[in-house]
Symmetry: C2
Subunit: 422 residues, 2 copies
């Protein structure tokens, strides 16, 4: 018999309790022991919940109960769950968490406290998709070359609607908020921060990189407009918000930003709120994992698979915890400025002579050469939209060129830039 407590009994917490009940016999057969939820810890005990477990508001009832073997942390936030998980691990309780923000900041702190005590976190990245399992076990013969993921359903839903239905950013954001896909303050999703948390977790598994969100390049989808989408469509690209981890010799690039990516690539075909993660291994080539990145039952499916793994294999499981992978001490986080990529630019300019020459010279001076170029004069105005893609060049040169171009008087409202993912 294994006893479990759930800290935070919201949508996912209720689903965890219900799955453990509804698939009880099947789960017992797979785990090898009966699993029982003995306590749920909540803030507001008067709130009606769709679950039949004993509730309390007192976390100490869990922490001081030696009969509780596994603590499932589903509180949200960073500081408060960090305290709770730390205390649980110190009491030798195994922990399962779906909390990506907690892990983005404290995964190595927690691993140090945990030692041999298992920490399961399959649910923290891409909800129901067993991506941690694939990376740690399924692809174990490989060194990971790159990970590229659609890891935020809200942004992907918005981009899909903007591309397929021609909807404007502001309108689709409002719709996403009404549907409950986006929060009142949507920055966490559309600004790339949620995806960054998940990317950092995956990068730890593949490369052992101990970075925090503020250490990596994070850009959101807020500046994408229908001009970008038409340009992309015309040249066979889709636009996606990707979390990207790439190994280039001993440097690890970690970045979250929108990309133009060829429509024929499998990851470009993932539409709506769904998530998908492409992993390239040095031997297997590309594999991709697709599924629901959020939702109570989907996320709880991953939480329960971790519970089963802890009960079945415990500390001998390769799927749990954040032990640094083989030879990761040789790998370092790539400086943001040293990224190399192809780029796409959009800017509005006054339609006067000399504009193109000035821009072309600025690009040339910064070692940037243009691939495809498109100019459209806006009807009944003296304003033209310039859009172009470049051959591969250096991020630092691009940043310099943008700051120089933005100083020209004929450039209106700054320069928009999107990286192109090959």
């Amino acid at each position: 018999m294994v006893n479990i407590a759930i800290i935070g009994v919201g949508t996912v917490g209720c689903s965890v309790a219900n799955i453990l009940k509804e698939n009880k016999e099947l789960i017992q057969a797979r785990a090898g022991k009966e699993i029982r939820v003995v306590k749920g810890v909540v803030r507001d005990i008067s709130k009606k919940r769709d679950v039949e477990i004993p509730l309390t508001t007192d976390i100490d009832e869990v922490l001081n109960d030696d009969s509780i073997d596994i603590v499932v942390e589903l509180m949200g936030g960073v500081d408060e769950p960090f305290k709770v998980v730390k205390l649980a691990l110190e009491k030798k309780k195994a922990v399962v968490t779906a909390n990506k923000a907690l892990l983005a900041y404290h995964r190595y702190d927690l691993q140090e406290i945990a030692g041999d005590i298992p920490i399961g976190y399959e649910a923290s990245v891409a909800g129901g998709i067993p991506i941690i399992n694939a990376l740690k076990v399924g692809l174990s013969a490989n060194e990971i070359t790159s990970i590229r993921g659609i890891m935020n359903g809200t942004s992907n839903y918005m981009l899909t609607k903007m591309i397929n239905d021609g909807v404007k950013y502001d309108d689709i954001l409002k719709e996403a908020q009404e549907l409950g896909y986006a929060e009142a303050d949507p920055t966490f999703d559309v600004g790339g921060f949620d995806a960054a948390h998940k990317l950092l977790i995956l990068a730890s598994i593949a490369y052992g990189i101990d970075a925090k969100p503020e250490d990596i390049l994070i850009e959101g989808i807020q500046n994408i407009n229908q001009d970008d989408i038409s340009f992309a469509g015309e040249f066979g690209y889709s636009i996606k918000l990707l979390g990207i981890a790439k190994k280039i010799n001993s440097n690890i690039e970690l970045r979250v930003h929108p990309v133009l990516i060829k429509q024929t690539q499998m990851i470009a075909k993932i539409d709506g709120v769904m998530n998908g993660i492409s992993v390239i291994g040095d031997k297997v080539g590309e594999t991709l994992y697709y599924g629901p990145g959020a939702g109570g039952d989907a996320t709880a499916s991953a939480v329960v698979s971790d519970i089963i793994e802890i009960v079945r294999a415990g500390k001998s499981s390769p799927m749990l915890g954040f032990k640094k992978p083989f030879k990761s001490e040789n790998l370092v986080l790539q400086n943001k400025e040293n990224i190399q990529s192809q780029y796409y630019f959009r800017m509005s300019v006054e339609d006067v002579s000399g504009v193109l020459a000035s821009i072309a010279k600025t690009l040339g001076d910064n070692n940037i050469s243009v691939d495809t170029f498109l100019q459209k004069v806006i009807e009944n105005s003296s304003i033209a939209t310039l859009q172009f893609s470049t051959h591969e060049c250096k991020e630092i040169d691009v940043k310099k060129a943008i700051s120089q171009i933005e100083k020209f008087d004929f450039v209106k409202d700054g320069v928009s830039m999107i990286r192109i993912e090959a």
Copy 2:
């Protein structure tokens, strides 16, 4: 130190030896022990191979060598590898195989001989995609509702070319043969038998069904023509060869056949030689696993992940062997005639009066109601092509209706039927 022998040192066998060499340290770190290939068994020892392992033609050198712990079977065929694997298991050697035909016929015979000795077979289904791992571990909180897979790269390559480039079946078959994707006798691939072998393996994991290829519905892509492809395109469908396992109450449907499937479904977007498997779990919903289904290094990636799992976890691993899943004794293989589906029909008829009425009556008499109907008269002829899709109806009724319609004098060359996958 773990000693391995490879039986059959072709493309995959060479890749296995080379991956174990090239990623030796990484694999040792993950497995916990050094892994060494000590022998390769080949038919023709004079043949030049891209591998540096001691070769022999005498299988007994492996079977009688007590220092060999794991036998990797990559021979191909059924009877000969069955003998070899049986002998290896009797000598208490763990076995890893990529041989889907062997397992389609003898998986439960081998499991009975093996007892607690591990059998790894991740490579036998969909090459480098870790689908066995996902089914057994990643989705362990779920009862599997359905599995639908593109599990034969040759057929998918041909269908993709027929759809995207309008190429005729015979022409693309010739091209696939020239590219080495299809054999001189392509029946195994285009007839659905290869996919059926893989489906039977997956169905054993999910449902414990002990069926052989001859027990299940297998149809190939040989009759698909450009008329079918235009009809599909016009109504938003793609055409794919799928292996399908579905749980309907206590009945398990197992079938391999082409389907019309909505282009918006993720599995419909998998093009070319790639494989992909959609799994619906009762809790997680749909997840999909995509990657290379063949090729030396991709297949060897899966073989080596099994070797690592055997060395690391041995008989305690949930990923190995064919132990029957929970409550599978309650499940039975659904009779082929009891399948229910939507259907699509194509037939050529003489363009004379009364044709439609006769066909409509036959359909009605068999409880088949039409959804979408298309009639095209072939230019400068008295022949028309009829194409229509139906609402959901019973396979047995469809078979009866087809046999009745084919008896009409005005019907030329029989009736083509493709199931529609919702």
